[in-house]
């Protein structure tokens, strides 16, 4: 078998890992990294590979599990997004000191321009801080290639290796050759050595010294040496240094404009090769194009000759779009650039799907606590900000601790606003539980609403520990959320379907009253994500809502306060109308219209 396929960067990465003998892969979903593990699972099934691939409860757990496999001599990998790496920062820092036996690839996908992230942080800087080599692919094809090189590098130096793609690599598709994978299985063989694997602080100093020696050698490692991709290396004059997807974009532009200038691509931004740094000393002026921060630039150091992110020649924020690359290259080499005229129109603002149960939950929260403070978290439900029911979103799990923080901050005020915190099921498992335990022991009065739709919807519907299915879709043990909440010491726990809006509002009010005296109250809003439900099920539960034309006076309350995409104002009739193509028949809007103009068809 040898086929040409259009491979997503993340699929290419998965393919590269498996082709090079990865036997264990773990991940926590996060855009743009999520498809890596799904692709590992798909390739495993397709090519009948005997490997272990699973989602973990969070990135730290994913990291530690995969790391143990590498300690036992297997080739393993862990995948996450850049903010996920923050969660796994603790084991990352230590694992680099202790090293590995089998190759260990840590994939952290960055999101310049942030398309779906809280930050634009550069994972390569985490690599600098942790002192591990990092590779920066420019395309799906190169991502697959570097996955293999990463394993070899990792084993040659017994060190974890970071592979850092960006959104445009993860989510591009490229035609490439795919061959059948022949796996050579290794058997786990953990050599006990507590002096190394459980090193005490005294030995860690020794390990740090050894790590520095490794790094110096890696800065000389042949397979990851910078590549001259165009022009001739002649020294003197100007040179361009590229990495990541900026390299791919720049190469097209240099070719198109026929520029005669030496161009180097760095595939290992850290540690930068010593010989390369010396070679760069021979040029008078160097332009460095990389995302997001100036990691290569930093190591070339000489501010008078090197232009890039750190010197202000390239914007330190946002994505390096090909048009920015072209404009900057032209400015650097001194040729004319005509900026194209762009008229930017505001796009449609993202909103929760029609019929999403989160919308009902948020509406209920606003009704139960009109003057409340609403802390929230990371997921589809972040979009509850459109509904005025999300005031803060910081990072995974933070909403619960912030609920405590607001409650404490207001303690000395004359009036204390009710605090409602929302968190999804996946995020609750990921990092919400410690916050809940903390607030129970301190009896903090707030209401936690766990929005349980049994999936990680925003990143593409990966299972959660409550789903009862694993990465392959096979049945597994489902963790019961109410049991966990109870185990944390909460005594008010109610589960309800937010589709039944009036009842749900009442439960929230009850919870609000309870928490004042007794500490946290937890309400679990249970309704599956619509996109996961099968069509027949949806059809069976469809309740047709119609607009009673005699009653609707076009006040627009439902459109502005409930914002279901299926509802809009009809300019001609000046009444609301329901788009039959979008309506999912959840019937929640029938509770929302204050005049009772939205009614169930069979009840009219």
């Amino acid at each position: 078998m040898n086929t040409k396929r259009l491979m997503l960067g993340n699929e290419a990465l998965a393919y590269g890992l498996l082709k090079n003998g990865c036997q264990m892969a773990y991940a926590y979903p996060g855009t743009p990294s999520s498809e890596i593990l799904s692709a590992v699972v798909a390739l495993k099934k397709e090519m009948d590979l005997d490997i272990h691939a699973q989602w973990a409860v969070n990135e730290k757990v994913a990291f530690e599990t995969a790391y143990a496999g590498a300690q036992a001599g297997l080739r393993t990998a862990v995948a996450m997004k850049q903010v996920g790496l923050n969660v796994a920062a603790d084991p990352l820092m230590s694992s680099v000191y202790l090293g590995v036996k089998g190759g260990f690839v840590v994939i952290s996908a960055d999101d310049p321009g942030p398309h779906s992230s809280q930050t634009e942080q550069d994972s390569r800087l985490m690599a600098v801080m942790a002192k591990l080599p990092v590779l920066d692919p420019d395309s799906p094809r190169q991502a697959a290639e570097l996955a293999g090189i990463a394993f070899e590098l990792s084993e040659a130096f017994e060190i974890p290796v970071m592979l850092r793609p960006t959104t445009r690599v993860c989510h591009s598709r490229q035609s490439m050759d795919v061959e059948k994978i022949e796996m050579t299985q290794r058997e786990a063989a953990f050599e006990k050595n507590p002096g190394r694997w459980a090193a005490t602080p005294k030995f860690r100093l020794q390990l740090h010294k050894e790590l520095e020696v490794k790094l110096a050698k890696i800065a000389d490692y042949e397979p990851t040496r910078p590549r001259l991709v165009s022009g001739t290396a002649k020294g003197g004059g100007q040179a361009i240094v590229l990495s990541g997807v900026a390299a791919a974009n720049a190469r097209d532009i240099i070719k198109e404009r026929n520029l005669d200038i030496p161009v180097y691509q760095v595939v290992q931004p850290f540690p930068l090769h010593k010989e390369f740094i010396k070679e760069m000393d021979t040029y008078d002026e160097i332009l460095v194009l990389e995302e997001t921060w100036g990691v290569i630039e930093m190591q070339l150091a000489d501010k008078n000759r090197v232009k890039g992110k750190n010197t202000g020649f390239i914007s330190p924020t946002g994505e390096l779009l090909p048009e920015n690359v072209e404009e900057r290259i032209c400015a650097f080499v001194g040729v004319d650039y005509q900026a194209p005229q762009i008229t930017m129109l505001p796009g449609r603002r993202p909103t929760l799907c029609a019929g999403c149960s989160h919308r009902a939950s948020f509406y209920a929260i606003k009704k139960a606590a009109p003057k409340g403070i609403f802390t929230s978290d990371i997921g589809c439900y972040t979009l509850g900000c459109n509904l005025g029911a999300v005031d803060t979103v910081t990072c995974m799990g933070a909403g619960i601790s912030q609920a405590a923080g607001f409650t404490i901050a207001y303690a000395k005020n004359e009036k204390q606003p009710p605090v409602f915190s929302t968190i999804g099921d996946s995020t609750f498992f990921h990092s919400g539980i410690p916050g809940l335990i903390e607030t129970v022991t301190k009896k903090i009065p707030y209401v936690l609403v766990i929005l349980d739709n049994r999936t990680t919807a925003m990143t593409g519907h990966q299972p959660t520990p409550a789903s009862g299915r694993d990465a392959s879709g096979d049945a597994c043990i489902a963790v019961n959320i109410p049991d966990i909440v109870k185990g944390c010491g909460v005594n008010f726990i109610k589960t309800a379907d937010p589709y039944d809006l009036p009842a749900f509002i009442n439960i929230l009010k009850e919870a609000k009253a309870y928490c004042q005296e007794n500490g946290p109250a937890v309400v679990i809003a249970e309704h599956p994500c619509l996109l996961d439900m099968d069509r027949a099920e949806l059809k069976a539960s469809f309740k047709k809502v119609i607009v009673n034309r005699d009653i609707c006076d076009g006040c627009g309350y439902c459109v502005s306060q409930f914002e279901c995409p299926a509802l809009s104002m009809d300019n001609e009739t000046e009444q609301v109308c329901i788009d039959p193509g979008l309506c999912t028949g959840c019937a929640v809007c029938s509770f929302v219209c204050p005049k009772g103009a939205l009614v169930l068809e069979n009840q009219e």
Partner: protein, 182 residues
Amino acid sequence: MSNNQQIIISGLGGQGVLFITKLLAGAAMADNLPVLTSETHGMAQRGGNVISYLKIGDFSGPLIRPAKADALIALKAESFAHHSYFLKPGGLAVVNSPDPVEDDRYRVFYGDATALAEAAGNVRSENVAMLGFFLSAMKEDSHVFNPDSLARMIKETFQAKPAVATNVLSLLGSGMQLYKQR
């Protein structure tokens, strides 16, 4: 006629932008051409603007620069307003719209693919009708998009559901006619 083609496909979430990108990409690959595609993912849930970039031929960067695209497929009139700036002067645009869409900087053709899809009993496949519309409009510019390869792609994609394949193919055909009748 060059084998290098840069195409923008723009629409709203749920309209099947990625589906037609994949079909076009697959057809080009079947003719042994190198393909690169990219799309904007993100917070946009259903209903948000979606854009996909399709590059066929000798390219290494996944995105298309403004004023460089050879053609634009706009699945809504507003998609044309949003993304026409990607077109090179004189570039080709096909727009799904019952009302005239004009812009003298480009060669713009419009047609009501939604009505076609509705008539065929499936509003959701307006994207396929637009694909057909694009295919015949593009014929004069490039042979990169070969209708036969595309038909083969569609049959392959819906191997398990021959009835769907037949429907899709017939809508593709009416889309092509739409261009001829314009």
